[in-house]
């Protein structure tokens, strides 16, 4: 059966890999991202790969006021959504954030508030339709604040907590709320990082997302071993943790 799938932040590496897999399963896609030219390219690529119908809309998601009309456009195309994947975000420079309140708030806005704004609107729609999947990419960084990137971590942690509540609220509505927590992923965003054994490819992450959606999971650590790593990180007592150089 063809599903209507909304992908927000479609040009991000993980979203791109995920939407390609859905395209090859011949579903209908609606793609949203900031960069119109790249969106167009990705939409054409999805069509060749077999997507039944592909629509897209360029939008600066940092502008929260644009969200209601964006969702109106989307529902005008697909009145019912089966899956939503929210994948947009930025990787802030922690140093720059520390030096500027404005930068910190901007990063919180794009990585947390914009997602929460969209989720607030989407949750009501999904609650009404009484089924479907809301999937959001957060990060293992949200599990515990660390000096190296706590602005990012705090934003992602906020979304994760929000999702917990939403999951609880939408449980009776038969709506899956999936929190996706990737570890290190090899994407243009992390291009110049030194890549060790813990790094994963976007395609690997995408595959696990599709599976977690199929299996109605609540939380996905991906690749799976991050579940263990984060379990350890979370259980280190704060009096020790605060002394670590993480």
């Amino acid at each position: 059966m063809q599903k209507n799938i909304l992908i927000i932040g479609a040009t991000s590496a993980i979203a791109k890999a995920t939407l390609r897999m859905y395209a090859e399963q011949n579903h209908n896609l609606f793609l949203v991202a900031r960069n119109e030219a790249l969106l167009h390219t990705i939409a054409e690529d999805a069509k060749i790969r077999g997507a039944h119908q592909v629509e897209y809309q360029a939008c600066d998601l940092a502008d929260l006021h644009s969200h209601p009309s964006l969702l109106e456009t989307i529902t005008a195309t697909y009145p019912k959504l089966d899956i939503v994947l929210i994948a947009h975000g930025t990787l802030p420079n922690q140093q720059a954030c520390q030096a500027s309140v404005e930068t910190t708030l901007q990063e919180i806005n794009i990585n947390a508030l914009s997602t929460i704004s969209l989720l607030t609107l989407l949750a009501n729609q999904f609650e009404k339709q009484q089924d479907g999947t809301i999937a959001v990419i957060t990060s293992v960084a949200g599990d515990r604040g660390r000096q190296s990137n706590y602005v990012y971590g705090a934003a992602k942690g906020m979304v994760s907590t929000f999702l917990q509540g939403l999951r609880n609220r939408l449980n009776d509505s038969n709506v899956q709320v999936l929190d996706i927590k990737p570890g290190f992923v090899d994407t243009p965003m992390t291009a110049d990082f030194k890549k060790g054994a813990l790094w994963a490819q976007p395609e690997q992450i995408a595959k696990s997302i599709l599976k977690a959606i199929d299996n109605q999971r609540n939380t996905l650590y991906t690749p799976w071993f991050w579940w263990g790593i984060m379990l350890i990180i979370r259980t280190i007592p704060e009096c020790i943790f605060k002394k670590l150089k993480l």
Partner: protein
């Protein structure tokens, strides 16, 4: 970040950019030309060239620019971004009944890398090199401007870019034609030959076969010198595959392997004894003088892809691949001389692959031309280059040349003598300002 080619020699410190859209490539490139040249920069795909052709202080990695742009289901004409890999094309298009017109011995190359090296396959004698199937490409010039080139538009730039090792600009996308297949299988025939003369004669006898390649036991000497397994292949028809018990799905793409070489092998595991044993075993694998089997295209074309990171087998110092071509006229004599030199040196190569090339094309720096090409891997050590210089002299003597995408060490003189069109090539680079914007360790070494 530390970066190297597939041979893991040399290794250099680089700054990397991963543009995922054409506009970013333009801005990366044009920024660099604004200023007087201080850093060198070059395009990179999946880093499957062995030597230093994709190495520079700044590496512009195209592997994230990986979109299908247009596909014509009637003609098989595909337009895609330069960073799309051959593996991805096969994964997607084989089940639809299409195959690459030409493929090298690994599928982990990008379309851009394949064009920049004008790669050849086992069907060169019939279908030529990859660029002969390229109808058009988009190139980002030193100025950041994007031009379309083909045999008609900017034909000289096209000829310079095909096989031009990234030295004319950055290929953004290409249009080429896939070929129809009925099944994902290959009808393979293997001949076991006793020596070089017989190997060459068998090639000659089977010059109508679509795919052909010989694996040479490069440590065999005397009367056995040049003994080989010659493998021929034809795309299998539906009829042939249906009657075969192990072939369930006729158009299934290959699966990527999970086998991995997780660390460098210690140096002592690779010595003349182990290589000799391997070579003898491999040769002995084929029991009969002639055998036949139906195989999936993946093991037929990409036997090495089944072990990821197999290049670590040669230890942490890396290795060099040495691939040359010599004209047909030099054939038996020239190959005998070189194989004798190698056997005497006791420097075994796990792989010694011999192919017959058909006619070459007129791309300025394209490697293939009518003759015999032999590719060998040698473990890096302090005396290797001296030995390879000796081989260079023989290759040059017989009017041959080395393959740039495998090279990490040839001299400027060797290059300029064996690539007679290098000056025309350089002229075009100057015309488009590319000599200031695009340079690799290799191009600097070769005096381009």
């Amino acid at each position: 970040m530390k970066l190297s080619g597939w041979g893991r020699y040399p290794i250099i410190q680089t700054e990397n950019a991963y543009p995922n859209q054409p506009g970013l490539v333009s801005s990366l490139v044009s920024v660099a030309t604004d200023q007087p040249k201080t850093t060198t920069q070059i395009a990179r795909g999946l880093g499957r060239s062995y030597g230093d052709s994709s190495l520079a202080e700044k590496s512009i990695n195209l592997s994230k620019l990986d979109h299908f742009i247009e596909f014509d289901e009637q003609s098989g004409q595909l337009t895609c971004s330069a960073g799309v890999s051959f593996a991805e094309i096969l994964r997607f298009f084989v089940p639809k009944g299409w195959f690459l017109p030409v493929t090298p011995g690994t599928q982990f190359v990008t379309v851009g890398g394949a064009i920049a090296s004008d790669v050849h396959g086992k069907n060169h004698h019939i279908d030529g090199a990859f660029c002969e199937h390229v109808n058009a490409l988009e190139l980002c010039l030193a100025s950041g401007e994007v031009v379309e080139c083909s045999k008609i538009h900017h034909p000289h730039l096209f000829r310079a870019t095909c096989g031009g090792m990234g030295l004319t600009g950055i290929i953004l996308q290409a249009t080429f034609t896939l070929k129809r297949i009925e099944t994902a299988f290959i009808q393979e025939t293997t001949y076991k030959t006793a020596n070089l003369a017989e190997t060459l004669a068998k090639f000659e006898e089977h010059d109508a076969a679509t795919y052909s390649v010989a694996w040479i036991d490069c440590l065999a000497t005397g009367a056995n010198l040049g003994r080989s397994l010659l493998m021929l292949g034809e795309h299998a028809s539906e009829e042939e595959v249906k009657s075969h018990p192990s072939a369930t799905e006729t158009l299934q793409a290959g699966k990527t392997s999970k086998l991995n070489m997780p660390f460098d092998l210690p140096a002592f595991t690779l010595n003349s004894f182990s290589v000799k044993a391997f070579n003898a075993l491999y040769y002995g694998k084929a029991r009969q003088a002639q055998s036949q089997r139906l195989v999936h295209y993946a093991p037929f074309f990409y036997p090495l892809d089944s072990i990821q990171n197999w290049n670590r087998m040669y230890g942490k110092n890396g290795f060099a691949q040495y691939q040359f071509v010599i004209p047909k006229s030099a054939g038996l004599v020239g190959l005998t001389e070189i194989l004798t030199e190698i056997a005497n040196s006791k420097r075994g190569s796990f792989l010694a692959v011999l192919k017959v090339f058909g006619q070459g094309n007129d791309n300025y720096l394209s490697f293939p031309e009518e003759g015999y090409t032999l590719a060998l891997d040698f473990k890096m050590d302090s005396t290797l280059f001296e030995f390879l210089n000796k081989l260079d002299a023989i290759v040059l003597h017989y009017g041959g040349k080395l393959y740039l995408t495998k090279d990490a060490r040839m001299s400027e003189q060797m290059f300029k003598q064996s690539y007679p069109q290098w000056q025309e090539f350089q002229k075009i680079r100057h015309q488009y300002g590319a000599h200031q914007a695009f340079n690799s360790l290799q191009s600097t070494r070769l005096g381009l």
